[in-house]
Amino acid sequence: MRLLRPIVTRLVVALAAFLVWALCVHLAGADLGRAGLGFLRGALGTQYGLSEVLVRTTPLLLAGLGVSVGFQAGFFNIGAEGQIYAGATAATACALALPGLPAPVLLPLGLLAGFAAGAAWALGPGWLKARLGLSEIINTIMLTYVAVNVVGLLVRTALKDPAYPLPVSPATPEGFTLPVLLEGSRLHAGFLVALAAAVGVQLLLRHTAAGFRLRAVGENPRACQVAGIAVGRTVLLAAGASGGLAGLAGAVEIAGVHHKLLEGISPGFGYTAIVVALLGRNRPAGIVLAAVGIAALQVGSSAMQRVAGVPSSIAWIVMGTLVALVLARPALERWRRPAGVEAAS
């Protein structure tokens, strides 16, 4: 019975999330079968749908890894959205400034610029936390609003395409393009970059001393202080890596999908990344699965909006419900177990 309980509660969570989804579809006045079919066909039914899921997985995976690295060091980076904007801006600016460079140089350089800008955007709150004890939760979210507006400002001024009336930047040079992996789809090599990042994060956290310190500081900063670990420096490392991965997500979106900077370059990838990190339970393999799952949920929801008129914000309802239920699950497992049993086990 004790072994069965975690499986049963997981099934209960999945079933409850499905019921919430079905209820929303019903409330939207759509036919459940038609909407469900539209959802599945849109996300998984065709090669194009599948490739779109992986296109969306790419930024979610990168930013989700970033959020997770921060969480594990006790750095609650909920401003990945802003770091994505910072990374996209820096990558675009870098590519536009150096149009003559050959692709093998420009591509890594631009991606690196994105990583650096994202890291810088998170290092501010990281420094404020490490040195002054200010809440990174507040500062990362405030800087997100700043970043979004800075992008709005730049595409109207310094980075504006003069030949075009709308607020967008000029197209980035040929050299700053991630190759398409699958003929006839938008799936680009950024997906491989994201998978490599997952392996890199796994290696960093589990097989290096810095990774060990990072996780130790997340578990118990006071004990680390006593043991002589430089807590402040470790928090900075986590903040930099966390923001850097989110910034890389922004750069990859430019080089793989948009090829120019525009407002709304990320439809909330940075916020979704928090859900990805939480559902992936901070393990890279789990985060890959969560990113694919959430991407499928979002792509399917968009398809369902087209086919059955159900607003695609249903994806946020399902994600919020999932996280809330996952949080409540331990209590579900304790349920009806006498107090003494728990103490003894």
Binding site: C24, L134, I138, I141, Y145, N149, R156, P311, A324
Partner: protein, 312 residues
């Protein structure tokens, strides 16, 4: 000083008080919650839920006051869900709050699109009229700024006084303080930590919900997706700045409300600078102001920590 400039200043001060009201209400509520040891990052969800429920009810019934009531109820429901996750399930309070923010954003946007579609013109709701305080509203300058406002501004002042009295002069206030600082000690003298935290969450939700409602049924008269635009997070800053003291929270709300009002005012002047430069001003001001409090305020000892009375 010439009369024109004084007029301008008066307008700005009036707008500052108006923009400060949602922050003050939500901040005062969060002060209750944080004193009891519950850190509710889901304040954005509380305000968004309140703003949406108030809009729906006001638009349906034509009564902004019924809307305010609905906003309080919706906010309380959101905060009680947070309390259920944090107190009863002993989940991480920050993560629980984030989950609620996502959920509220999804639910309000889903319901709004379902009910009103994706039209170009925003549907509107009736708005609370300004209520001049007899006598006081005739005072030059100050009368207009302080005593010619919507009733929710006066409600925020009442919440300030009530919170202050409860925190410093009543048994209740002492008990809240006790469960926030030392839940085990409070438990051992027979206080119910869970019940007090639920109570604080309900007060937080009701005040935050009215704060959100003040956006839709007192200031703007319409609703749009994610209308709160991070004000829930700014209200959290207000609580830190005000060191969880009602008067401090109120003053901090006025300060950041002024930043918001200034932003709107400069935008309305129609200068040839993109509006994004001004829109980000309140957020930058929030970070700048937060810098000044560094290291000065000590949060309650048990803030953010779950409590299990069976552990020792």
């Amino acid at each position: 000083m010439n009369a024109g400039l004084l007029d301008q200043l008066g307008d700005l001060a009036t707008a500052s008080v108006r923009m400060a009201t949602p922050l003050a209400l939500a901040g005062l509520g969060e002060a209750w919650s944080e004193r009891s040891g519950l850190l509710n990052i889901g304040l954005e969800a509380v305000m968004l839920g309140g703003a949406f429920a108030a809009f729906l009810v006001a638009a349906a019934t034509g009564s902004p006051w019924l809307g305010v009531g609905a906003g309080a109820a919706a906010g309380a429901v959101v905060a009680l869900v947070h309390a259920f996750l944090a107190v009863t399930c002993r989940a991480d309070q920050t993560v629980a709050g984030l989950a609620l923010n996502f959920l509220a954003s999804g639910v309000t946007s889903f319901a709004f699109l379902r009910l009103y579609g994706r039209g170009t013109d925003l549907p509107s709701c009736p708005v609370l009229a300004a209520v001049p305080v007899p006598g006081l509203s005739d005072i030059p300058f100050l009368g207009r700024v302080l005593f010619h406002q919507s009733a929710l501004v006066y409600l925020a002042c009442a919440a300030l006084v009530v919170s202050w009295v409860v925190f410093s002069r009543t048994e209740w206030g002492t008990r809240l303080h006790a469960v926030g600082e030392n839940p085990r000690g409070a438990d051992s003298v027979g206080l119910s930590v869970a019940r007090l935290r639920y109570l604080a969450a309900a007060v937080n939700g009701a005040l935050g919900g009215v704060g959100g409602a003040s956006l839709t049924v007192a200031t703007l008269g319409f609703f749009q997706e994610n209308i709160t635009g991070g004000r829930g997070y700014i209200a959290l800053v207000v609580v830190i700045l005000g060191r969880r003291h009602p008067a401090g929270v109120f003053l901090a709300a006025l300060m950041l409300g002024a930043a918001d009002a200034l932003q709107f005012r400069v935008q309305a002047l129609g200068v040839a600078i993109p509006s994004q430069l001004f829109i980000m001003f309140p957020y930058v001001a929030t970070i700048a102001v937060l810098l000044f409090t560094a290291g000065r305020s000590r949060p309650p000892a048990a803030l953010g920590l779950p409590f299990d009375r069976r552990e020792r």
